[in-house]
Amino acid sequence: MSLQPQQNLPSLLLQENSQSQSSSTPHPALPTLPPTFTTQNPPTLLTQGAEALIYKTTYLTPHLPAALKHRPPKPYRHPTLDARLTRHRILSEARILTKCRREGVRVPAVYFVDWEQGWMLMEWIGGGSVRDALAAFLTKREVGEESVRGLMGRVGRAVGRLHVAGVVHGDLTTSNLMLQPTTASSPLDGQVVLIDFGLGAVSVQDEDKAVDLYVLERAFISTHPKAEGLFQEVLRSYEESYKGAKVVLRRLEDVRMRGRKRSMVG
């Protein structure tokens, strides 16, 4: 993972989590799921971040797949504070997801939220991440340059639409962009779906939007060094996607220049 010294971000956070988790020392017992999920057909764990665990399960019928996000209680926090934070974060994420959906941004639909127990059921998004699709493209080069440019365009438009809706993601990496296959002919076709709004917020500030783009850019450069040129395509379609984009892109220049705020030379 290549992080630069001035790398400032809330993020790139969950990006390589699944890998780092598996390579670390044997994990102690996982947090227990709420009783709703411990009976027949226990959900399968997909990934564990610092805050939450993601499982695959079903909703209403055994044929409708769903994603379960569980925020287990943190024993180190005071129970009152823990309950307050879990409630706030689950609700805020659910509100952001519904807001995005209302505004026509493609995100998972929220099926059910239990803020007391700390879990949320969401629409299951099939397919893989843009990160994996890009990595596969860069190693195998099975499809043409056109097709990857098309994907970059869709990524830029998806981010643009999110920002039009007045929402910032807070952790925009290629792992948090899913590629949902449609009637795909090429592995790079499909709809771009934004996931994991755990650090999301409602914001109209250009600064926050520029930081989103900066995080995405860093994620591009660090995980797909060969794909640096492709990011220009993302920015180009982002710029076309809405009126205020030009101001945000100018702000992005500042964010790039600034990096970390404090000098640690000594």
């Binding site: 992080l3 956070l13 989590n17 390579s23 670390s24 994990h27 102690p28 180190y76």
Partner: protein, 305 residues
């Protein structure tokens, strides 16, 4: 190799003598003494007074350290000093003293980055291999991990440091700065049991403390007479100063543990090393240990009071 080190980046002046055996074995601490500039209650330490303190004490401390270590000037190979970051005036005084000794004795002089010094010292003492480091003191709040041949800052405080937040709250309460304001807050917090609502300011891997300080300062002011006594809504017991200290610690430490955990998940490490003055706080160490246990890891804490 024997090195003498001078550190004076804040109100403590420390002189240490360390011997590194030629076979690469663990370092031996021959002397480790310090003198602290203590300001009166309700006041912080000002750079110029702190610098004056260091200038007065550096020579006696160096003499005493040499005596304690049982080494003479001839045995010493190099003079090390804290190059920064830290408070300008005290840093400069100590740097001048170090340069003077190096010229006087004809030894090499080595500047050491304050943060890296804390980390390397912590690794040497605890034997932690590749930990995520939480560096928390009066001037610094950082989550640091080693990646690609460099210590990299993953998260930090966006405004004041956590130690500064605690110290300034001690000033608001007018409690003693001896031995350290944070220590006295910790002792008071042990008597508190009601958690008051304070802002919780974590943004990704960064956090912010100035809003919390403003908020707890307001709460403290509202407890002063002639204001009516505040009661806890659940138990009906009165809210005390101890409850304020307790709430402040619980909130800011939860934030620190959270950003540390996020960095651990990111780099895939299960060890945590806590360094810096605030790292002495036992509640912070306990919370960190609970978090590390759930990730199948362990916590190493270093600094003595």
């Amino acid at each position: 190799m024997i090195a003498i080190g001078l550190e004076g980046s804040a109100n403590k002046l420390g002189v240490g003598i360390i011997s590194h055996p030629p076979n690469g074995g663990p370092a031996q601490i021959l002397a480790n003494i310090r003198h602290t500039f203590v300001s009166p209650p309700g006041e912080g330490f000002l750079p110029k007074d702190t610098a004056k303190h260091h200038r007065e004490w550096v020579v006696p401390l160096v003499k005493q350290a040499l005596k304690e270590a049982g080494v003479c000037i001839r045995d010493i190979d190099c003079v090390c000093y804290t190059k920064g970051p830290g408070m300008g005036a005290p840093l400069q005084s100590v740097a001048v003293a170090a340069r003077m000794l190096a010229l006087l004795w004809g030894k090499d002089i080595v500047g050491v980055n304050h943060c890296v010094g804390h980390i390397e010292m912590g690794r040497e003492i605890t034997g932690a291999q590749n930990p995520v480091v939480l560096y928390v003191s009066g001037g610094n709040t950082q989550v640091i991990a080693y990646a690609e041949q460099r210590y990299r800052i993953f998260g930090e405080a966006l405004d004041i440091a956590v130690g500064n937040c605690l110290d300034r709250f001690a000033r608001t309460l007018g409690i003693s700065n001896d031995p350290a304001p944070g220590y006295n807050i910790e002792q008071l917090a042990k008597k508190g049991k009601h958690l008051l609502d304070l802002p919780y300011a974590v943004k990704g891997m960064d956090c912010s403390f100035s809003g919390i300080l403003a908020s707890i300062d307001l709460l403290a002011a509202s407890l002063q007479p002639p204001n009516p006594q505040r009661l806890d809504p659940d138990t009906g017991e009165p809210i005390t100063t101890a409850d304020l200290c307790f709430s402040l610690q619980e909130t800011v430490f939860a934030m620190l543990v959270e950003i540390t955990e996020r960095a651990m998940a990111h780099v895939g490490s299960s060890q945590v090393l806590i360094v810096g003055g605030v790292g002495c706080n036992e509640r912070l160490q306990d919370m960190m240990a609970l978090m590390a246990r759930d990730r199948g890891g362990s916590v190493y804490a270093t600094d003595e009071r």
